[in-house]
């Protein structure tokens, strides 16, 4: 999967996963890989900065939790984040319909 394709859409994916259930970064990466059947196999350098960005924006909040090995940072969605996710879902729908409309016309 090309690098640029994801731009602007990553936030929605992260918000959607975390909205369903609070999770830590590594688990989110695994979840994305599994759900997309390998299509989204994102490097850590992509996901961690994005999570930090979303937290700074107030869409997520995090807490540290001790784990079996190293401590984990658990992210959960905020009220603001839930709102933003709904907006981004709608935007994704409009975007995908737009692309289909352009491609469909070119069949």
């Amino acid at each position: 999967m090309n690098a640029e394709l994801l731009k602007g859409h990553l936030d929605l994916l992260l918000l959607a996963i975390i909205a369903e259930r609070p999770a830590h970064g590594y688990a989110i990466i695994a979840c994305l890989r599994e759900r997309s059947a390998g299509a989204f196999d994102l490097p850590e350098g992509t996901v961690y900065p994005a999570l930090h960005r979303l937290e700074r924006a107030g869409l997520l909040q995090s807490r540290w939790a001790p784990g079996a090995g190293r401590s984990r940072r658990i992210y959960e969605i905020t009220a603001l984040g839930a709102e933003a996710m709904q907006e981004r879902r709608a935007t994704w729908g409009a975007f995908a319909r737009g692309v289909q409309a352009v491609l469909g016309g070119a069949l």
Copy 2:
């Protein structure tokens, strides 16, 4: 429509439109706006550089044609471009399915 969403997907849209029928930049912009029902109302500073990039990459070729007013630069797709378009269509499909799979799991 947010700026970043389009990243990486613009090439496919341009290739698809030009593959259907050779066209000049301004007409492509109008076509995108119409087909997407206003969702893709792209500024010229987005489209022209993208067309130049695609031509440099050998996916498009252009010729100047005199028009009613100012001369137009007509782009058409190359064999390489047609191949690239098929690939990018498939990639778009995989991407869209991937997003749906992630979002669907979070319903």
